[in-house]
Symmetry: C2
Subunit: 80 residues, 2 copies
Amino acid sequence: MPQVKVIVTLKPSLLDAQGRVVKDALNNMGYADVQQVRIGKYMEVEVSGESGDLDAEIKAMCEKLLSNPVIEDYRYEVVL
Amino acid sequence: MPQVKVIVTLKPSLLDAQGRVVKDALNNMGYADVQQVRIGKYMEVEVSGESGDLDAEIKAMCEKLLSNPVIEDYRYEVVL
């Protein structure tokens, strides 16, 4: 059964407030060489692969539900 | 500057309630062939690489802050 690994990240031009907080926390814990942290989402989607065009289906799912295309980018990898 | 890509996932034996909700939503949107969704976190950490042992540093950061080792697994990849 194909498994699709989807990574959704905030667009690079946008400030990642959550990542900033994690970076500050790591610096305060003594990891002074951490320069930047950006946080995204990771999803593993198992599909039965019965639909014809898996690529088109995944793209539609990412654009309609899994990511917000206004502020986020997505990329995915299909593991057969 | 080395970039570390960290993926944190819920341990496979644990029920992923958030993933379950996303799976149901996708099914309701007409993507009937989606069998399972599991949701994790994705982090990009930029380090200046001045500390000696980058691997040990990343493992410590993952275990102390970036993941909850009781319920989550982590893996990472260093991009030089």
